[in-house]
Symmetry: none
Subunit: 425 residues, 2 copies
């Protein structure tokens, strides 16, 4: 394979489930993202079922038109996992049994005190001449085949196995095929809608001729993805993107919580550590999702003390010390109860901040006065508090997500600005 | 094209954006779902950018291997919309200008009081011999080409235009190719690994000649998807799948928690309602994820009383009444503390069941004695308790997911069987 010409890259996702209405390949998005970092662009994606003739048609065609082929899936132990066999057939080579591989696979089972099923034996067969790519978190080894027709990389389908193997074993080998330099920036925002973002920046679009820009909307979060390419140097790619980033951050300013891919929970985690503050939460309608997100961050035990999912009124009174009369007077979904929940969890835990959510996630439970999507979020600190009334749109899961975004954003804004920023969401 | 033989169907999604990490074709899921209604199955999906050579490679290959080809996108007015031209080239035919089409397109603009851009003129060119498919909500007409090689259907990319055109213009034409009827079943399992599942059922595979079966593995969950096709009737499709479903459920029995697509949290919700029981949880390493999943189910407030995310030791003692000496003696990640947490949340809330998780989700915090992935799960009820020691593999998020699966499965097994089922995960 010629190292200098532009590479035609094909990703093939194997699995009959991806041809049904119920499943979609997402691994190829991860591969595309990592390949783009090296200036490598994907030309074709193919999705094919687990049958011999279809696989052979795809593999043979890919070997004709592509210089680099990534095949994902079908390396497992079951009878419908036939990627190895058919790829070997497409290449015109044979499979070879590697005793050391079988030993590794068996060791994985032994460490967990389990018996290895005999079906796992097939995972110790590899395509002749292939380099074996270690699978640190599963039994299926990957394969790297360097052939005059193409570089072929066979990867396991489970996303965590794929990502871990790609990062550790494949990406380093690909660096020599790097064709250019790409700088990719993501501005993540909270407290603003897509159309508001668009109206704040659309007059800047004519300036964006040397970069790719796309606006993506998620529940409670807007992202701007900006990519700059250069064949010369990473510095050139950076200098192309710099003025655009400056214009955007100036316009969108305090809505931006991250410029380097971090999630909101990571941002508030870092702010809490920086300010040497601790946090506890109290949740009603989010039912633990706020605590879950906060504790998704490794090391969150440094600042996260506790959370209370006070779903029932009894729990609100008993665990959070919410006043029974206030609860009866205003109802569980009210600004008063949100405040009392935030203060309650803060007082009980001794944390610096208490963050609380109470609302109606739906689809049931709404009334005319308190419709589905009505959510109160509250932040409590040593000498003050804040409560916000939100009317979120969307299904149960969307309302839960928007609620956690809003609650975390209240803490972010307090820690960063100590003052209100107009909410545009 | 022979109307009776089994059709090879390919869907081609055109658009460079679908080759980036940021966008994904979803139109093909809709097509697959409608085609499946007619007993037609998709064999290949291809995703390709808007450049001439790539399109030609895809179209030519599809015309060789497929009997029915659905091409989505690239019919718009802009310079990168070249599907019509390149498909015509692949077929070896010419484009033909249809004055009436141009008039229709112009009328659409007139009705909205807009000028038609000159670029829209190209939308009035069609492939010779093609039938025109009316676009009721956009300017791009679709095309239906019946050719000895294949039936080719060119459809617009915007999802609403695609769906409207497919339903009104394409689906009726496809009914004559209806090959039969389809029944789709999903068995979801917990407490068992993929390879163990395989070893329990692989000798049944020869019986599965009339159905499609695929095995999917997720953290803490294995799914078997079974599809049955019949050329005669939906009853026949059902009766074909029945013996297979019986064999599988007999073998996999108590590991199966759902046969109709339900999640584990929905299943335990229904069991709690049926048994008129209530639940509260106590979480350490899952940090709220268990409560989040349980409260993802609409109506969960009927049985879910509270959750306590006792991340710190202080919270375990103060909120859950875990004995300080036990905590110091055994450590927070221990079977004793798991049991005390489960009993604590049950006693405090007055719930019938207490479910607790304590462990080391990683990546930090592991020791030789208590490595990352060590998780204790415990269930407490009025006159008993159960604790399980688990050693989970995977990253932080996977360990959290596996922990919630295991905890919920303990409750499921208790409610259903009141006895232990051997855990094969």
């Amino acid at each position: 394979m010629n190292d200098n010409k532009k590479k035609v890259i094909e990703i093939i996702a194997v699995g009959s489930e991806f041809l049904t209405p119920h499943y979609q390949d997402t691994n190829s998005l991860y591969l595309a993202s990592r390949l783009n970092e090296l200036g490598l662009k994907v030309s074709f994606k193919s999705i094919v079922g687990d049958d011999r003739l279809s696989l052979l048609s795809c593999f043979t065609h890919a070997l004709k038109r592509a210089d680099m082929i990534f095949v994902i899936g079908g390396l497992g132990p079951t009878a419908d996992d036939i990627t190895r066999e058919i790829y070997s057939e497409a290449l015109g080579t044979d499979l070879e049994f590697i005793p050391g591989l079988l030993k590794n696979i068996k060791n994985r089972f032994d460490r967990r005190g389990l018996d290895m099923a005999s079906s796992n034996k097939k995972q110790a067969f590899v395509i002749q001449g292939a380099q074996i790519l270690e699978n640190k978190i599963g039994t299926a080894p990957g394969l790297w085949i360097d052939d005059p027709r193409a570089i072929s990389v066979l990867l396991p389908g489970p996303p965590m196995e794929l990502k871990t193997m790609f990062d550790a074993e494949v990406f380093p080998k690909l660096e020599k095929y790097k064709t250019g330099f790409q700088v990719h920036k993501i501005l993540k925002m909270v407290g603003i809608t897509e159309s508001r973002t668009e109206s704040l920046i659309s007059d800047l679009y004519p300036e964006f001729e040397h970069v790719d820009l796309s606006l993506l909307a998620y529940p409670g979060q807007i992202e701007i993805h900006i990519t700059s390419h250069s064949v010369i140097s990473v510095d050139q790619a950076k200098s192309q993107i710099q003025p655009q980033m400056e214009s955007l951050t100036k316009r969108l300013d305090k809505y931006i919580f991250s410029q380097c891919g971090e999630e909101l929970e990571e941002v508030i985690g870092k702010l809490l550590i920086k300010n040497k503050k601790t946090l506890s939460v109290a949740e009603s309608c989010t039912g633990g999702f706020l605590g879950h997100r906060i504790t998704n961050v490794p090391g969150s035990s440094q600042y996260f003390l506790q959370g209370i999912q006070a779903y029932s009124n009894k729990a609100k009174i008993q665990l959070l010390g919410v006043d029974k009369n206030e609860l009866l007077e205003h109802g569980a979904v009210s600004d008063e109860v949100a405040r009392l929940m935030a203060e309650g969890t803060r007082n009980i835990s001794g944390a610096d901040f208490g963050l609380a959510v109470t609302g109606i996630a739906g689809p049931g439970g709404g009334t005319k006065e308190k419709p589905v999507g009505l959510v109160f979020t509250s932040l409590s600190w040593d000498n003050g508090f804040k409560v916000e009334k939100n009317q979120f749109l969307g299904d149960r899961s969307t309302v839960k997500t928007r609620s956690t975004q809003k609650a975390m954003d209240m803490l972010r804004r307090h820690l960063l600005f100590k003052e209100a920023v107009p909410d545009r969401s």
